[in-house]
């Protein structure tokens, strides 16, 4: 299972799934599948997405569940 924070960063940038899909060259449905965790991306797609959000890939994708945002804000050490 590959976890991701795609929906968080997408909302932060005010992008629709279609916008993201067009920028990385996939079908908009694929972004939906990724966000729901129903599909694990290839290395190429993961790198394209991290480049789009200008983030290291491990900030976007992880093999462990991400700490919820509210908890991260309360306790920045986690």
């Amino acid at each position: 299972m590959v976890y991701n924070r795609l929906s968080v960063f997408r909302a932060e940038r005010g992008l629709s799934r279609k916008d993201v899909a067009e920028k990385v060259g996939v079908n908009p449905q694929t972004i939906g599948y990724l966000e729901r965790g129903d599909y694990a991306p290839s290395v190429e797609l993961a790198l394209k997405l991290s480049a789009l959000f200008d983030l290291p890939v491990e900030h976007l994708f992880s093999l462990k569940p991400f700490t919820p945002l509210a908890q991260s804000l309360r306790d920045p050490e986690t």
Partner: protein
Amino acid sequence: MFIRSKAHPYGRMLSIETVRLLMILLYLFYPLGCILQLAPVSGDAEKWLAGGGLLMVVAALIAFAVLAGSSLQRQVQEPESELDERESSERNRAAFQAHSVFSAIVLMGVLYMMLTTDMAEAGKLDLWRPVTGAHWNAIFGGLILLSFTLPGAVLAFRKAPPAEA
């Protein structure tokens, strides 16, 4: 078979529930309609059964026409270069499973033909076998419909509903 229209170059987006319903309708109505049309009955019942059977086959073909223009059918039939990595990997998995199911159906049909022919020749049991051109056409038509739609059916019954917003 994917029917591309100018209005929907990537296929018409149907909900997964609609696709499943159309697949069930196609796979139930086509064989039932053929059986009713070709049933060996005579008199008034023959006309009613044949008429009912024809309507069921037409309904199945309409379901097939709608499915042939759907985005799911595009995923199954489009060249590899036109699909993204998720669509392509899903399609490959579905094609493998559909191939297995199709092969099993054809194998069972061939075994049935072999056994019923042997038993009839031995005078033991005279089970129904396709004899006339209409019988064979119904079977071949069904196999053609199945080969076109089975990978899409595998996808439709495995997929979670998509999200595009």
